[in-house]
Amino acid sequence: MNAWLSRWLYTTNHKDVGLLYIAGSMYFGFIGAILILLVRVELAIPVCAAGVSGMCWPSATQTFLSAASFNQAVTLHGLIMILWFLSPLAIGLANYFLPLQIGASDLALPRVNAFGYWLWLFGGIIATLGFFMPGGNTAGGWTAYSPLSSSQFSPGAGPTLAFAGLIMLATSITVGSVNILLTVAVSRGPGITWRKIPMFSWFMLFTIIAMLFSFPSLLAALLILISDRVLGTMYFSASAGGSILWDDLFWFFGHPEVYVVLLPAFGLIAEIFPVFSGRPLAEKNIILICTGAIVIPLSYMVWSHHMFLTGVTLSEDEAFSVATILISLPFDIITLAFIKTLTRSSIRLTAPMVFCIGSIFLFIIGGVTGVFLSSFVLDVVYNNTYFVVGHFHYVMVGAAIFGLIAGLYYYIPKMTGKMYHEKMANWHFITSFIGFNVLYFPMFFLYDMPRRIYTYQSLPSWNTLNLISTVGAFIFAASQILLLANIIYVWRGGKISPPNPWGATTPEWVPVITGASHGAAAATGSMPGAEGGEHHGHLSSRPIWLAGGIGLSLLGLALMVYSWGLAVFIAGLAVDGLAIIGWMYEDLHEKFHMPEEVTESWPFSAIPKMRLGMWIFLSTDVIVFGAILGAYLYIRSFTPNWPIPGSVHEIPLGLANTIVLLTSGLTAFLALESVKEGKQRNMIMWLCATFVLGATFLGIKGAEWYNLYFAKGFTWNSSIAGSTYYFTVGLHAAHVTVGLVLMVYLIRKAMMGGYTKENHAGVENFALYWAFVDIVWIFVFPLFYLL
């Protein structure tokens, strides 16, 4: 394969992956924009009716977009813009600059980083493939409320593909979060203490923490949804409260998600404001405390304000309304601190600066309208109307996008070594700002117009405002051409920029580490790779193959309705297997090697990187299983006629299986203890025992299931009790299976002499994982067999 292709497909270098994310997000942003421009054309004029003058669509069936197309367009617009444009743009900048800012040579797990990227990209492609399926793509809103999202009301492979793409994205984000957390925790360069971490990196760290515990909830919800759609389980179609279950699981993710979108932009503002104000950031530590408080726990305690009208108790509405008011307080402080940074200053109105100012301006409007929406009484009128649409676009587009664009302009000299065209960028700002407000401000006056309606009856107030909004949409979209033109201008021959054109003082501009490790800012402004082939030892084909295999498997699963779907699924599994084996092979034979470096790692100095990574991963798995067990408890409490405990499952068999699994926990522990004493033969023996016990557990499980399925007719689609049992126990069994695969690797490596008294991290991390699997079963057994 030629060098250029193999570099971009197999790179694990953080700068390359960052550029890949930025390019990919621009592509998806373009698609999301086209979708909504189509929507705005549709909404520009009403549908004709008797006595209506003025332009209108001839009839409800003769509009520009059909209702089905419209619904798909608004749904995919939301999904794509939030998950495949806004966040990845920020992640791209973070990939590029976070390691530079903290003096790390790369992210902690470079291949995992690349894997996360390809998983994200293929997930997006799969999600958009849904458009080409019969019946089209998912069309129930990006929020995918249940039971509209079920296979009964949204039949076809299209929606299933979209949800499969989302699962890939959620997985990508989870592995990416672990990676970045690890990097900040233990890979900081010498001298970069927590106090010295620059603001963009701090805000990315907070973003990651917000992602860490929210995306697993989305993953749980999506896994259940796919199970409902493909296997026929009955979690969300359960008539008693299934829709509220989705709401809770989705919004527990959904609310922290909006801060995931916003905080990177705030981080960029926190970098850019001081530089162009010629003075330090005001109240820096207080800003950090406020952001920390927002991320944990406040952002996880307000989600029910999206559910004010769903019929939950008044007490729940009141409690979450108060919590939402509380969360606005730290935002007030942060905004005012940013503004204070503009006082006693000398402000240079460069493009990054004006975009940041625009961002704060628009955030204030978005934030204040958010306070309106925190009222569970006002929300009675505003909920699901264009008032909400206006509010969230002011914060997600106004505050977030303007901030991210500022970051792009700010960092173009560093990424490319050239300066953008300042005048064009200024015009970009002016036209964007005007277009944005013409597009979104009218929406606040459309507070009695429901959202997601493809057409509307003519009303003087609605007609004019919708038309104005559409005009604004085209102005806003067209103004982005100036950004594209500027990027082309830079690519094609902009002026060479000095290494630090802005006079910034953070490490990515001014290297603080002497004898810099190869990722640091020593390389001034040139595209990566041009710096002398430094990362050629870090190419790996495994990430893209593994991501591709997962994509193929999910594609096949979603397309099981077609006879060839199974073949695709199996092909995908084969690719997965080969990629995993290849990855392990790289590890066993040390083909992928990152040099050891001196790093700052307090307070994680006593804990090795991989073990920390395992703990972080397990903390996310707590949320996945917690959400799924919570779903079971919820469904159970609202479903009458649950099978009497003891009438379905063979409790002695279940008990025996529990004893088997607990014993395997003991043997895994003994394996670890053995290798800590250097007794490698004993360790292999105990590991083999663990493997046998784990396999026995699965075997007994299989026998139980065979009996339940065939002898008792208790299947995953025969009853709600069946659905919850098979899904939960199945997910646990999948974790056990993964453990078995890991054990094969460990035993193989151990037999090659790979684990010693000093160096046995793999065994230790496996023991942690296996203990976690045991703990989950400690809850699952009584919950499903005894109660």
Partner: protein
């Protein structure tokens, strides 16, 4: 929102909403104008221009910056926010269902893509809802299939219709006329067209209409 009516003539639900909205509008609007205005002022004042001296910046802040100022700001913003939140709590009677013995109870069922209205005598109207003026009406709302959203814009009341779940809203129409009922939760391709009418008649007219209804066998509970 019958907001062109004089305040005294508004239906109670509209009154509650409008009063509360005014609090938020005035305070929120003022806050936005003040903060944005201050920001724009500082930018205009401090922007770099030829002949301007860069002001000497004294790094007067300690480790925790001006935490006293921050605390004061928290108190100020906190008070304003607490005030509006208090007003919200005081307006909770918009969503709390009153319990007068004379209330008219109408069951509403949403389905793809229409509303149906069931009266105490068991009659179900598949087109419109008819109620008497100046009476408290309590709607018991559910869905037959997916989630819908019942919304009566001119009365400022709404509630989601969830399958398998019953939720309630109340209103009291003080003006006769025909009002719109819209669906406000995306429910499929017919969502935009899921419209009904709320017909508010004088008490005499309503009673006459009600007496002439064919009485259906008792509607089976639930969707």
């Amino acid at each position: 929102m019958l907001s062109w009516l004089p305040f005294a003539a508004m239906p109670p639900t509209v009154k509650i909403f409008t009063t509360l909205q005014n609090y938020y509008l005035i305070l929120g609007g003022a806050a936005s104008v003040i903060v944005i205005g201050y920001m724009v002022f500082q930018i205009a004042k401090n922007r770099e221009r030829p002949g301007r001296q860069t002001p000497a910046y004294h790094h007067e802040e300690g480790e925790w910056g001006n935490w006293k100022g921050v605390l004061m700001l928290l108190c100020v913003t906190g008070s304003v926010l607490a005030f509006v939140e208090y007003q919200t709590f005081a307006s909770a009677n918009l969503v709390a269902i009153p319990d007068p013995p004379s209330a008219l109870l109408v069951g509403v069922t949403g389905q793809q893509y229409s509303w149906s209205f069931t009266y105490p005598n068991g009659y179900t109207d598949f087109q419109n809802m008819t109620v008497p003026v100046d009476s408290i009406v309590i709607l018991n709302i559910t869905s037959r299939d997916v989630t819908h959203g019942l919304y009566i814009p001119e009365l400022d009341v709404a509630k989601d219709a969830q399958p398998g779940v019953y939720s309630e809203l109340w209103f009291n129409a003080t003006q006769t006329g025909v009002y719109t009922i819209q669906c406000r939760q995306l429910c499929g391709v017919g969502h935009a067209l899921m419209l009904s009418k709320l017909v508010v008649e004088s008490v005499a007219q309503y009673n006459a209409w009600y007496a002439k209804l064919p009485v259906a066998p008792p509607a089976k509970g639930g969707a």
